[in-house]
């Protein structure tokens, strides 16, 4: 039983690490602000939440698990809103996406 | 071995961030790199087992300081102006001070060694008697608030002085048309 829990937590942590590295790579290599924000928006909720979920499995059924679950909830609530606010601010300053159509303001 | 890797990686990232902050000319990038530097410093303090200081550094340095610096940027320009004349004296001063500090660090006792004079004077008494004398399990809070309470009074007074300094200098008072000779001349 504990072997299954260990393997599952390792898989979750590795998957979270993969998403974090992919997000960081995307922030460096994408050509435009909006696409870079898409990469950052993947990194914060997915990458960190998967790592935290793997840690939850490691901690068992204690108070630490409840605190980590609340952390995942808050992270999933705040970081997409931050990316959204950033995108709105960029749009307000008339920053055009790279592949914008001709009549897009 | 893993510890040495983590320490080495953190130090390299700190150096890279500091060099980036010194070389870039856009002030917005400098503020963002300052936030990153504070966050890396909080990580380094966490790895060295100083949890209270790490939490304070993360909340003050990477949180409030970045927001307030961005607020300052809103009032000034976004690019640093280049100096008219490049003088070598500041660079020489920084290099000499850095080398002197490195020389001093090499001769310090190993980190966490319990037989240094620093760890034999009052520190064992604080650590052993803290629950018996103050009833507070967190030794850092007990030392900050009770054993060294005068220092924390001084810190609070320093923050208070910063606050009233900002209020005196930067608060805009609406100019009354009838009073000509205001005390502050505004």
């Amino acid at each position: 039983m504990s072997l299954i829990v260990d393997t599952a937590s390792w898989l979750l942590i590795l998957a979270g690490g993969f998403f974090c590295i992919a997000g960081a790579f995307g922030i460096l290599r994408f050509p435009d602000l909006y696409t870079r924000m898409h990469a950052a928006g993947v990194l914060d909720p997915f990458g960190v939440s998967l790592i935290l979920a793997g840690l939850m499995l490691q901690a068992g059924l204690t108070l630490v698990t409840v605190k980590l679950a609340i952390l995942i909830l808050f992270l999933g609530l705040t970081s997409p809103v931050a990316c959204h606010a950033l995108g709105r601010a960029a749009r307000h300053r008339r920053l055009k996406p790279l592949l914008a159509a001709k009549e897009d303001r | 071995m893993i510890d040495a890797l983590i320490y080495g990686a953190l130090i390299l990232l700190l150096i890279a961030t500091a060099i980036g902050m010194a070389r870039t000319r856009s002030l917005f990038a400098v503020v963002a790199l300052g936030g990153i530097y504070s966050f890396l410093m909080a990580l380094a303090l966490l790895v060295l087992d100083a949890v209270d200081v790490s939490m304070t550094e993360a909340s003050v340095g990477a949180g409030i300081s970045t927001v307030l610096l961005l607020g300052t940027l809103y009032l000034t320009r976004l690019h640093e102006t280049l100096p008219i004349r490049l003088s070598p004296a500041p660079l020489a001063m920084s290099v000499i001070t850095g080398l002197a500090l490195l020389y001093g660090v090499v001769h310090l006792p190993p980190f966490g060694d319990p037989s240094t004079p620093m760890h034999r004077h009052v520190a064992p008494r604080y650590l052993e008697d803290v629950v018996r004398e103050t009833g507070v399990p967190n030794a850092v809070t007990a030392v900050l608030a009770s054993y060294r309470g005068y220092d924390t009074l001084g810190e609070t007074t320093v923050i208070f002085t910063a606050g009233i300094g900002v209020l005196l200098l930067l608060r805009r008072r609406r100019r009354q048309p009838s009073d000509g000779k205001d005390k502050a001349g505004r």
Binding site: - | L144, G149, A162
Partner: protein
């Protein structure tokens, strides 16, 4: 600009009570784990600044008026120094906590509690005052 957008408004309205609750948690659990007055004061200031960023500076000044901030900035230092004077009045030296209660350990806890409250009040109101001063002078 941000006060017309729906998504930040709703989420920030959901989050600010939890921010303030977390600040109180950090303040009162400073004795059992990492925490204390400085971190809690900064988190309270963060909640006020977040409200000011999303809903506009005028709204934030309506909820936390600058007059209140001017009163709170010295009040924290007065509380701290007052605990010292309470130690004097109760028979010990300045900033002695063990005379504040018949049981000296309980007196220490009481002194530490009030001292941390003083630090919380000064730090949070100073950060909020700096934010008001900077963003009130817009271009």
């Amino acid at each position: 600009m941000m006060h017309r957008e729906a998504i930040p408004r709703v989420v920030v309205k959901l989050l600010i009570p939890f921010l303030l609750l977390y600040a109180l948690y950090v303040q009162f659990h400073g004795e059992l784990g990492p925490g204390g007055g400085f971190q809690a004061g900064v988190i309270v200031a963060t909640a006020v600044i977040l409200y000011g960023l999303i809903f506009g500076l005028a709204e934030a000044k309506r909820i936390v008026p600058p007059r209140l901030i001017e009163v709170l900035v010295p009040l924290g230092v007065v509380i701290y120094a007052g605990v010292g004077f309470a130690g004097l009045l109760a028979g010990g030296n300045y900033l002695d906590y063990f005379v504040l209660d018949p049981d000296p350990v309980h007196g220490q806890e009481r002194g530490i509690f009030w001292v941390e409250v003083g630090v919380l009040v000064t730090v949070s109101s100073t950060m909020t005052a700096i934010y008001y001063a900077f963003s009130g002078r817009g271009r």
